[in-house]
């Protein structure tokens, strides 16, 4: 669906972005706002130069300070997010948090709706995992899932990188996993028409498959990656995964500079544990994404190390990649804060606070790789607070103005 917009209005909007390139040639510029491409404007100038302009609503920013929704969640979430706040205060990061608690034991949806409203208001959120109790009745939906689908956070992005200071079997892994985040096996559509026989619906739509494939290829191009591998089981699920694969191939044809191949999910997991270096960017539907991202997290050292991001058209929510509640290690000061702290750095990048993001990220990596202060999950004996203190000391010693430790 394309709409041709009146020139005068849009040149006013785009002039500051494209600068003098528009100028007097404005009357020759034609702009299409494509709904499929989600607020991208294709600007075709008379010189045949195509500019892609991403028009996104600005994150909540008042008086130079951003406001971000913070959902502590359950298990280790609250303590890790407290460390994030402590670190941000220490570094004088211009971010204020609007804390929204979600009670996972409650059957009412008020809490999660408040959280969703807060995220809509602020545009960005940092969250811990909200526990989903298996013993609740089937109509009680996963709160995390509800959040993702209501806000249409269609892309889950996880960048798995080996840390030199962490001992793992395979070294130098660098894989980006793009997982469709809203449909597939997580549609929560199940029925038991006959007692003892349950049917689950796995939903794959052309629209969402094209959308996630496009996201993956754009990301690959932006980050200079060479190959995108689609992971599927289309030999068995011929219509569902077949459609997904078909959509990936269609999108791939529009990015001739990026190689595209596909691999069946069972072979993929086998290859990941034996020869992980063959993978670059991986693209897949929801459930395979869940399994593959956990395998990759295991390859680089575990759930405590990898941050994850959920992106939609209008909102972004950051959390740990493997979304663990960590009930058994909660409140014992042993959880690894790395994943959550790196997720907060991804959030700072999203808010365009790159200096703060790089400063904190650098300190985290120094702690992991040089100081080698590790928590129990990666073979060390440090406590959560010792790791955070170390990060703060490194930041303080590298110069910028900070508060007292």
């Amino acid at each position: 669906k394309h709409t041709t917009i009146i020139m005068a209005t849009l040149t006013k909007v785009l002039k500051p972005i494209l600068g003098s390139q528009l100028g007097n040639t404005a009357k020759h510029v034609v702009i299409y706002l494509s709904y499929f491409h989600d607020y991208h404007a294709h600007v075709i100038c008379p010189l045949n130069v195509i500019h892609y302009v991403y028009l996104q609503p600005p994150p909540a920013k008042y008086g130079g300070r951003h406001t971000v929704a913070l959902i502590p969640g359950d298990g280790i979430g609250p303590e890790l997010l407290n460390h994030v706040r402590e670190l941000f205060r220490f570094c004088c990061v211009p971010v204020d948090f609007e804390v929204v608690h979600v009670n996972s034991a409650s059957t009412r949806e008020d809490d999660i709706n408040n959280a969703i409203m807060a995220i809509r208001r602020n545009g960005v959120a940092l969250k811990g995992n909200i526990e989903t109790n298996h013993t609740m009745p089937p109509n009680h939906k996963s709160r995390n899932n509800l959040l993702r689908t209501s806000l249409d956070l269609y892309a889950n992005m996880m960048h798995c990188q080996s840390l030199p200071g962490v001992h793992t079997r395979h070294k130098n892994i660098d894989i980006i996993i793009i997982r469709e985040n809203t449909e597939g096996e997580y549609s929560s559509l199940e029925h038991e028409s006959v007692s003892g026989v349950v049917e689950s619906l796995k939903i794959i739509t052309r629209n969402n498959s094209l959308r996630i494939a496009d996201y993956a290829f754009r990301l690959a191009r932006d980050k200079g990656r060479r190959r995108v591998t689609a992971v599927h089981k289309a030999n068995i699920m011929k219509l569902g995964d077949g459609l997904f694969l078909q959509c990936c191939k269609e999108v791939a044809s529009g990015y001739p500079d990026i190689e595209f191949d596909s691999m069946i999910v069972d072979n993929t997991t086998m290859q990941l544990v034996s020869k992980p270096h063959q993978f670059d960017v991986m693209l897949m539907p929801n459930l395979y994404g869940n399994v593959v991202s956990n395998v990759c997290a295991g390859l680089v050292g575990g759930p405590g190390l990898v941050p994850g991001a959920n992106y939609g058209r209008d909102y972004a929510v950051f959390e740990t990649a493997t979304r663990n509640t960590g009930k058994s290690i909660a409140n014992r000061n042993i959880a690894n804060p790395t994943a959550m702290l790196l997720a907060s750095c991804l959030m700072l990048d999203h808010l365009k606070l790159h200096d703060y993001a790089n400063m904190i990220r650098g300190a985290i990596l120094t702690t992991m790789n040089e100081t080698r202060l590790h928590t129990v999950d990666i073979g060390g004996q440090g406590t959560t607070s010792e790791v955070v203190q170390s990060i703060m000391r490194i930041i303080q010693s590298s110069g910028p103005l900070t508060t007292e430790i």
């Binding site: 086998m270 544990v273 459930l287 593959v292 295991g298 390859l299 493997t322």
Partner: protein, 152 residues
């Protein structure tokens, strides 16, 4: 699963999520013993575990039916490029046959062949190409047969 384990009593059961398996399997597989799961997860995790032990060339499998009807098979491909050239690694199919013998109750024979096969691989003197050696399939098999004979 919960109902059956209640009946069987002594065996400990756990029910982690498939993502927890896949991660736990990669980091420390030793604390898993027997895993039971539905079809799709089984497909994914069986290949993942095969990757951990050396690949499909050494992984046996069996399909057991309700009345004791069973089919044992290797799950690797047909390898048309090396077919008929006496180069293939017979381990997967051989160990599947061992599973079949156990299913039939011939535990003595099964144990002998399995031990001989493992010893040949452990020795590293006669190995097929995929395991890093340059022996032919028939040479590898002959070595296993020799060990079985020596056992008697």
């Amino acid at each position: 699963l919960a109902d059956v384990s209640h009946v069987m009593g002594a065996i400990k059961t756990q029910s982690p999520l498939p993502r927890t398996f896949s991660r736990g399997m990669v980091q420390d597989p030793s604390h898993f013993d027997v895993l039971v799961m539905p079809n799709l997860y089984g497909d994914i995790l069986s290949d993942l575990c095969a990757g951990l032990i050396g690949g499909l060339g050494v992984t046996p499998s069996g399909n057991i039916g309700a009345n004791g009807v069973a089919i044992f098979e290797s799950v690797h491909g047909t390898a048309p490029d090396i077919a008929g050239k006496d180069l293939a690694n017979p381990t997967a199919l051989l160990l599947s046959a061992v599973m079949m013998l156990r299913h039939m109750g011939l535990h003595g024979h099964a144990k002998k062949i399995e031990t001989a096969c493992f010893d040949t691989i452990r020795d590293e003197k006669v190995l097929t190409k995929d395991l890093g050696g340059n022996a032919k399939c028939s040479e590898f098999t002959a070595d296993i047969c020799r060990r079985v004979q020596d056992m008697d």
